[in-house]
């Protein structure tokens, strides 16, 4: 991620260290110290200040980036909404980590899922290559004139952020020509054309501004596809709104986000050798959520198990809610059920995935979901 940030060479990075995202900024700070970037690195006193500094920098026309995790994102909360409502294309590396209480440094998606309605584009990455690629695409998506929204590129804490993998880093020139220059309509520093930001916005205009944000997020879906296509043309790696893995003829499907997809793919390959029709739909873009495309991709499935790596207390998991909503308009929607897993870094193994596919087979044969919602690998159940 630090490498992608170096190539983007933003004017401003403002960040406060928090495990496991610290490594990103540590590595980037070395690039600053070695004068390999032109960035002003602002070592702020909190994440609230980090996001505030990014907003101020972005309003002046600068590319601004930050990185955080868990409590850090939580402390940014109110400023996340300011960034998106001011339509500032700020870029964030979010290294997913469980939220306290119960102090925990390991991965789950409670942090980013809580921020899903903050008006930020959310893109999730399965591995380091995807995290890098998604970050290279981030400026082109966020700064598009029809979008102009902040973007968080998410990856799983430790599982991905602290793993060593072989990956392809593109050359600096190629990346810089891909992302181009940021164009701004108004700048805080343009004293010849004064403007005001953050004004009072009451019942006469607030809803119109929110309507424009909704429109920008809808545009983002198209722009993400266009940018991904351009990325494929230039760098030769293909990305879509979600990844379909052996999904074409799959009767039993798992829908999941990020690194657990590795275990799922491995399990699918094993089961496919035995002739079982199983597949994966891996979410890449969670905001904007591609309802229509997912409905089309899952319309022939018999049963869909949705894995949520965060708990919504008193409700089904956030991903499950979206998937069921996407499928609800089908005449004969597949059966669906929800499994919560991996909270606070609890391990998930290929055998757990095989169990889910076996459970799906049982439900499919019996024609009935016995348990709509359950938690994997929890003691006591």
């Amino acid at each position: 991620m630090a490498e992608a940030m170096r190539q983007i060479n933003p004017e401003v990075v403002a960040a406060f260290p928090i495990t496991p995202s610290t490594q990103v900024i540590e590595d980037f700070a070395k690039f600053v110290a070695d004068a390999r970037v032109d960035t002003e690195l602002v070592t702020v006193e909190s994440e609230h200040s980090a996001m505030s500094a990014c907003i101020g920098a972005s309003l002046s026309g600068a590319r601004a980036m930050t990185a955080t995790s868990s409590q850090g994102l939580a402390l940014m909360w109110e400023m996340l909404y300011i960034a998106s409502s001011m339509r500032q294309p700020i870029m964030m590396t979010l290294v997913n980590r469980a939220l306290a209480g119960g102090i925990n440094i390991h991965c789950d998606h409670g942090d980013s899922m809580g921020a899903r309605d903050a008006g930020w584009i959310q893109i999730y990455s399965e591995n380091n290559q995807e995290a890098y690629d998604n970050m290279v695409m981030a400026p082109a998506i966020a700064e598009n004139a029809g979008v102009r929204l902040p973007i968080m590129v998410c990856q799983d804490g430790f599982i991905i952020s602290h793993s060593i993998e072989t990956m392809q880093i593109e050359d600096d020139e190629g990346v810089r020509s891909f992302i181009g220059e940021r164009l701004t309509e108004h700048s805080l520093l343009d004293t010849d054309n004064p403007a005001s930001w953050g004004a009072l916005d009451l019942a006469d205009y607030y809803i119109e501004h929110k309507r424009a944000q909704i429109d920008a997020m809808a545009n983002a879906k198209t722009v993400i596809q266009e940018v991904s296509e351009r990325f494929n043309e230039q760098f030769g790696r293909k990305y879509e709104l979600f990844e379909s893995y052996r999904l074409e003829d799959a009767e039993r499907v798992i829908v999941a986000i990020s690194s657990v997809s590795g275990e799922i793919k491995q399990t699918i390959d094993t089961l496919r050798e035995k002739g079982e029709k199983v597949g994966l739909l891996k979410i890449r873009v969670f905001r904007p959520f591609p309802y229509d495309e997912i409905r089309e991709a899952l319309k022939n499935a018999g049963i869909v198990a949705v894995l949520d790596r965060s708990a919504s207390f008193g409700a089904y998991g956030p991903l499950f809610g979206e998937i069921r909503t996407a499928l609800a308009d089908l005449e004969n929607p597949p059966m669906t059920y929800n499994r919560t897993f991996g909270l606070g870094g609890r391990e998930t193994f290929p055998s757990d995935i095989a169990d889910i596919f076996a459970e799906s087979e049982r439900y499919l044969q019996g024609g009935k979901i016995e348990k709509v919602s359950d938690i994997l690998n929890v003691r006591g159940d």
Partner: protein, 113 residues
């Protein structure tokens, strides 16, 4: 000020992110509707000391060119701008004529409801 300028715009016609791409347009905002009490300025008792003008948070006291008894040019109070006056009453409270107590130069009247 054409009527068109104050017609509420559709969401497509707004600058992105609620930015206000011009300066000084707070003057266009009618704060007079907030008023429950109305300051009434009495020219016959006013000594044009500018205390009301100094204290007014909305610059609602408008000025004119005048002169002193000895003929020196000076600024004088002209009128209250009720488009902007919020009726806070600071002018009447700070007015030195009002403070002396035998007469008033600014009276606060309830707005008719």
């Amino acid at each position: 000020m054409s009527d068109n300028k104050y017609k509420l715009k559709d969401w497509q016609d707004l600058p992105k992110g609620g930015v206000i791409p011009e300066g000084g347009n707070a003057a266009d905002y009618e704060t007079g509707t907030w008023r429950t009490k109305r300051p009434v300025w009495k020219e016959e008792n006013c000594i044009h000391c500018m205390t009301c003008w100094t204290f007014c948070p909305e610059e609602a006291y408008k000025l004119r060119d005048g002169e002193t008894k000895s003929g020196k040019p000076r600024k004088e109070i002209k009128e209250v701008d009720y488009y902007h006056c919020k009726g806070c009453g600071l002018c009447a409270k700070e007015c030195p004529i009002n403070k002396k107590g035998d007469k008033t130069a600014i009276d606060m009247h309830h707005e008719e409801t």
